[in-house]
């Protein structure tokens, strides 16, 4: 279980490469036994954050604390954490057993201890009997499991995972997500996971840190991030959403595209311009006279679990997901439960804007 003990503290970290600011005054803490995910598009600074933690980069400014100790300038081999790299980074000139033994041999552990650990680790990642194979003879998924085994035999307090499933196909990726959750629970250690895949982040994490352009956009549980995005960027990056310019007329009342909707949000002031986020599955299609606003269905796609439809209403294209289908051309009404309208401040800077949002 996640404890309140802050195991890692990133304190005002800044880093730039060749004049390009990658991390800008980043503050973050990681609690013991937490599965924390850094999520963001490429170039958001998530991998740089991981590399600073692993010791492969030194921040230009700021400090890294581990268990209260300043480790900012400690080389990677002296840090009590291990990394699982993108594309595995196995030692291709060694057998699987030698790969897994590497860290323990460096630390001069006795042979019997090492042999036991290799057996244990291979069992843990479901690859018993692979000791004498060479890395090249393994599939991508198997190599990734070996990379994990090689890291965890050193009993790190924190495991850093840099997009470890990025090179795997969809089905394998989903299986590995369950594997990783199981591993984390069995080992009882902290996982710091870096990914650009929002589904991976939502599935596995205790805490998600959404990043963009070197800034943290929002930190929270997967539910919180999904249901209550703090700005347009987060709303857009996590799942599909309708992000619409609106006016907060008063507490609990918001005007969206000229129609008044009840809301559960308050405290924005009167007649304040805001953005609202409505998830496509929260848009209800009803008979025209029952809806708050009226529109026409313009596109229908069958997606398996549901139908995805586009409805043109009050000059805005609404994305709707529903299990019942309305054919193209149907006049429909749109209704939204007040609880499902998430109100956000207008973006204060470029990094808080949704990617390609239509104003």
């Amino acid at each position: 279980m996640v404890t309140d003990n802050k195991l890692i503290l990133l304190d005002h970290i800044s880093k730039s490469f060749g004049g390009q600011l990658v991390l800008d005054d980043l503050d973050l803490y990681i609690r013991e036994n937490e599965f924390i995910t850094l999520l963001g598009p490429s170039g958001c600074g998530k991998t740089t954050t991981l590399r600073i933690l692993g010791g492969f980069e030194t921040p230009d400014q700021g400090k890294v604390f581990f268990d209260g100790k300043d480790i900012t300038h400690l080389p990677p081999n002296k840090r009590p954490l291990n990394t699982v790299f993108q594309k595995y980074a196995l030692f291709t000139h060694m057998t699987i057993a030698e790969n897994i033994a590497f860290g323990m041999k460096i630390k001069n552990k006795p042979k019997s201890y090492i042999d036991d650990k290799i057996k244990y680790a291979l069992k843990l990642v479901n690859l018993d009997g692979f000791e004498n194979r060479m890395p090249d003879s393994l599939s991508g998924g198997q190599q990734q499991r070996i990379a994990i085994a090689r890291a965890i035999v050193n009993e790190p307090k924190v495991l850093l995972l840099d997009e470890p499933l990025g090179a795997l196909d969809l089905k394998l990726r989903q299986d590995m997500q369950y594997e990783l959750i199981r591993l984390k629970n069995e080992l009882g250690i902290t996982f710091l996971y870096v990914t650009h895949d929002q589904e991976e982040a939502l599935t596995m994490s205790d805490t998600i840190v959404v990043m963009n352009q070197g800034y943290i956009q929002q930190i929270g549980t997967p539910e919180k991030i999904y249901n209550e995005p703090e700005n347009a960027f987060v709303a857009d990056f996590i799942g599909d959403s309708n992000i619409i310019s609106a006016t907060m007329i008063d507490d609990y009342l918001v005007e969206i595209l000229g129609a008044k909707f009840k809301s559960t949000d308050a405290g924005f002031g009167k007649n304040k311009p805001v953005d609202v986020v409505i998830r496509p599955e929260d848009v209800e299609l009803v008979a025209p006279e029952e809806g708050t606003i009226q529109g026409v269905v313009t596109h229908v796609i069958f997606k398996g679990v549901h139908y995805e439809m586009e409805v043109m209403a009050n000059d805005h294209e609404w994305l709707v997901q529903s299990t019942s289908m309305f054919p193209v051309g149907t006049n429909v009404g749109i209704k939204v439960d007040p609880f499902n309208i998430q109100t956000m401040h207008k973006p204060e800077s470029e990094d808080e804007e949704a990617i390609g949002v239509e104003e």
Partner: protein, 271 residues
């Protein structure tokens, strides 16, 4: 489809038949016959003559020294260039192999002029009132010529092998607790061995067989096995002994390459 593809290789097949296989057969034919074209081991056995065995030993010794110097010069350089974040490291490599664009004979001739008793280097040294160098016509001059001419053949394969190593593999070793030295010993160096072996082969084989460098920088005083073979063909006009000695030399090279390949395969355990 398969026939069409094999048709594409026919120019090379004709080439190699004409210029590799037939000459090789001729060398074997001459090597195992006497002047009356009767079979004999005598040409092969002539390697045992004192001057010939001495020439072979000096050749092996100088070739080993030159190869070792090339490794010592090229490996650290390749390591730095491959590990550097310079975008222009391939340009630097280009600079190092630039001498290769000049004719081999010209380069060696240039060294002759530089190293002569009254050559450029000694003129500068005596102008500065420093002791002069007397290495022309010594084994040292031959080794210098070998290193200068063959160094690029060491740099390129070693650099290629080193720059192909995924930086994250190095990071992984560090991450697992290895310090810089251990990372080099257990990861970087073993992964570069194939490049090193092709570098060693590409330097030591021409160094072992050269007769031009020893001719020009050794002043004809130091006979390498290459010079002996050349003399048999050109001065003694004895193609039989020349071919016999060539076969012996070939066997030596094959043996050396076989041993390195074996070492490469067996170097599987790194602790």
């Amino acid at each position: 489809m398969k026939n069409k593809k094999s048709l594409l290789s026919s120019p090379y097949l004709i080439w190699s038949a004409g210029f590799i296989i037939i000459p090789l057969c001729m060398i074997f034919f001459y090597g195992f016959t006497d002047k009356d074209l009767h079979f004999t081991w005598a040409n092969i056995a002539s390697i045992a003559e004192p001057e010939n065995i001495k020439a072979l030993m000096i050749s092996i010794l100088l070739s080993v020294i030159a190869t070792a110097i090339c490794v010592i010069l090229a490996y650290p350089l390749a390591l730095i260039l491959a590990g550097s974040r310079f975008k222009n490291s391939s340009f630097l490599i280009f600079v190092f192999i630039l001498p290769m664009w000049m004719n081999f004979l010209l380069r060696t001739l240039a060294w002759q002029t530089l190293l002569e008793k009254n050559g450029v280097i000694n003129m500068i040294l005596s102008f500065l009132h420093l002791p002069t160098l007397n290495i022309i016509n010594t084994p040292a001059a031959i080794v210098l010529g070998m290193v200068y001419n063959f160094l690029p053949f060491m740099i390129l394969p070693v650099y290629n092998a080193l720059s192909k190593i995924d930086p994250n593999v190095i990071n992984a070793a560090r991450d697992l607790g290895a310090n810089s030295l251990q990372t080099f010993m257990y990861v970087t160096f073993p992964l570069s061995i194939p490049g090193l072996i092709s570098g060693i082969t590409m330097v030591s084989v021409p160094a072992l067989t050269t007769f031009v460098i020893s001719d020009m920088l050794g002043g004809g005083k130091i006979l390498l096995i290459g010079n002996v073979i050349e003399q048999e063909f050109k001065q003694a006009n004895n193609w039989h002994v020349g071919s016999g000695l060539s076969i012996v030399l070939m066997l030596f090279i094959l043996l050396a390459m076989g041993l390195t390949a074996k070492f490469d395969k067996e170097g599987g355990s790194y602790f």
